[in-house]
Symmetry: none
Subunit: 531 residues, 2 copies
Amino acid sequence: MTRERIYLFDTTLRDGAQTTGVDFSLDDKRAVAGLLDKLGIDYVEGGYPGANPLDTAFFSEKRTKNAKFTAFGMTKRAGRSASNDPGVAALLDAQADAICFVAKAWDYHVHVALEISLEDNLLGIRESVAAAREKGREVAVDCEHFFDGYKANPEYALACAKAAFDAGARWVVLCDTNGGTLPHEVAAIVAEVGKLVPGSHIGIHAHDDCGCAVANSLAAVEAGARQIQGTLNGLGERCGNANLVTLIGALKLKDGYAKRFDLGVTDETLSQLTHVSRQVDEILNRQPNRHAPFVGASAFATKAGIHASAVLKDPRTYEHVEPDVVGNVRKVLVSDQGGQSNVLSELKRLGFHLEKGDLRVSRLLDEVKRKESEGFAFEGADASFFVLVKRMLGEVPAFFEVERFSVNVERRYNAVGELVTASEAIVKVRVGDEVLISAAEGNGPVNALDVALRKDLGKYQDLIQDLELIDYKVRIYQGGSDAVTRVLIEFEDGAGDRWTTIGVSPNIIDASFQALTDSMIYKLLKSGASH
Amino acid sequence: MTRERIYLFDTTLRDGAQTTGVDFSLDDKRAVAGLLDKLGIDYVEGGYPGANPLDTAFFSEKRTKNAKFTAFGMTKRAGRSASNDPGVAALLDAQADAICFVAKAWDYHVHVALEISLEDNLLGIRESVAAAREKGREVAVDCEHFFDGYKANPEYALACAKAAFDAGARWVVLCDTNGGTLPHEVAAIVAEVGKLVPGSHIGIHAHDDCGCAVANSLAAVEAGARQIQGTLNGLGERCGNANLVTLIGALKLKDGYAKRFDLGVTDETLSQLTHVSRQVDEILNRQPNRHAPFVGASAFATKAGIHASAVLKDPRTYEHVEPDVVGNVRKVLVSDQGGQSNVLSELKRLGFHLEKGDLRVSRLLDEVKRKESEGFAFEGADASFFVLVKRMLGEVPAFFEVERFSVNVERRYNAVGELVTASEAIVKVRVGDEVLISAAEGNGPVNALDVALRKDLGKYQDLIQDLELIDYKVRIYQGGSDAVTRVLIEFEDGAGDRWTTIGVSPNIIDASFQALTDSMIYKLLKSGASH
């Protein structure tokens, strides 16, 4: 059986940006594009240049090394030529390898939303595709509402698909924009399109409004489609787009697909899947879905009881795939067998050389579990984990000790009757034999505390001077009966290195203090400072 | 075409109890059973009597009026007769209309987990079913790991299914216990079973480890199955069971099913679907999934401006079903990407009656865009948007004015040499002619400020007393050149209403202060308090 290639097209940064409460900054977009590129995704749809300044800026340069950097936009408006259409112009200006045009394929929309003739819509598709081909871009056409359009007027929907293909589109993407199509309907309709457009040029873009986005994508593949559009973690408006993370797991690991298809994702990059999924949630400060297929914290977790011993005897009996191939962990909540492998793997990744069976590994595991039960989560806070390990190995010198801090925020009327808010901090720190007191103002209490902590650290001052607080995230964590605050702080130093630390406390300033001091210790350790 | 009946079998209280972090109290079980009963679910599997005291107590009386109250347990152990098996005895003692036995159907499990012969396993199935039939109970048999069992040894799996049917089981339920079976495989295998057991007696029990539980359930129905097992909101261990809420929506509202099948759920009880889903999350103190199909807060929420005007023109163009039939709401989100249509629709939803063309609408839109450029995001902060509109309409009385606040966090050694952190706040607020000063301690600065702000609000004290801070989120937002902190706070009042407010400032305490006071004003407005 000849193996075929399935192409993955990620629209996290475009369709995913429609998710309620999600906003990508430019930095966020760069970071996500990088993750997708490394994972082996074929197309990264970065946004909609021309629609807003951030997306236009994002397309000022190509943001991927291997993936095809793709710009999204609308087909030309009626009554203008493609070369005179500002939307198309913005797309052609973009530093993109590929352009994805969204086009109407439902006659009702052409009449009511665009208010043009059916023929003019086809013309718009043809000329937009041609204009992009002429400029050497690869072209995809998203046939919007394709399935509803096909049900209403199959000839017209097919005509739109064919127009796109005949004009030179590499991909004709059938979009279930409302998310209301069911798998058996997708299978039948994609097969019909396959009579006019080769399956190798057909893509599927599903939404999860009936809980069938993944199944619809697979049904389309069964019917011949070879491109799947989706988002990481199923981001997207309403119920989200097809979850590419789930699809990657299924396509790489389920026999029915793994034996037939290749992806851009390799077995090696597959092991990053869990990490990529969690990083995206980190970047967006979203609570990860612990029940997510393949990568969720609970995806391989069995509660105490009859299953646990059977799983440990032979995991095949209770697991459909092995967790570590996707970078996840088996959690059997009665024992710590899965835990040790995970810790060892993390230690290796951070440059420690401890062997399985070393007593310190199980002590470290106990400490990690203890801190996790308090609300710590070291996933995403490498630097704090590093410091924890170093402490446990007895390799952290007594650099400094904060004997006291006091942080105050006051809002009052100033001398000219304006309400102003002022923040100040006082820190008393012992460095060796010296006791140093520093005071600082800041634009907020954490900033004031950060400045005060690093104002005068005696002999270590030079080393921690160039730290800069880059990002700050807070979540309430419902550990046991009480809620605690979990603070993650990202730092950058003069050399451009970045790292993240974590602090946990019912008190947000206390939690911030932990993260701040962890970061200072991390930097001192990294610099090779000695006592 | 003759219509057929599909039976819904809910296992929220049994399989759903395996969810990480979920524990049902007896009261919780009563409440959920009542919700399921009223919704029109056919079978309510209440738990595993004999396995633990709570479940045994739950089966001391029948807990449903219309639904068949069902007890779960294992088939008899080998070497005993059914009448001498304590597990079976506990099931027969239970005040249940039906009994659901879980039986092995994978030869590997029979050998390795049970360590008995294949024939003894079949005997166990036959005798357990017979014992329950003899006592007048309706019987279902969950064939555990059926699909993996079928792939490994089809004859044996089919033999187990047939044994159950021949012994008098009303339902032979094919379970995808590991969740690793794909829809096309489910379809093929269910069809094979259908050659030995009538489809009218076949059930499907799917798990979501490949994101296909709903699709697998529908595929089984297409292949002839007529019972679907699942849980509310897709609860369950690992990635959860098939989501019955999603399935109810699809079966009642999608043509392909609505035209062929009847459920116990009527059009009238269907309108409770959203309420039932949210009540279950309330009972379990779980964060609702805002992206859940049909019932999620965002299931019918549109962000983009271009879509918004089309949706309002004709919802059919962008919605696959109407939200109100399931008790949900259309939300056109106010955001940077929106326009006048968005704002007007939001105003209507919140109870304001402004017309297109009203100058106040464009002033409001300008104000929203201005605040959004400062870092505000009203999308997830309805209550702050409400207050903003009221202010713009001049309808916010001068309830109170905070003239000053001071918040302090101090960490120092206490009298016994321990490092402790203490937070306190002082608030000076004017209410009418009164000036009130309050001080409070808290487990953190925001808590202290919240307590102090609501300690003494003069004549309004009763109205804001019962507010509770439920969730707290912080992000650094890179607005222009400067970073600001965006704080979202979710509150709940004594009536159980929940809302979210937002505050933005470089100073996290200041931002929290804005969100806190917005919430107090919202509550006062909601209560109809006047100046």
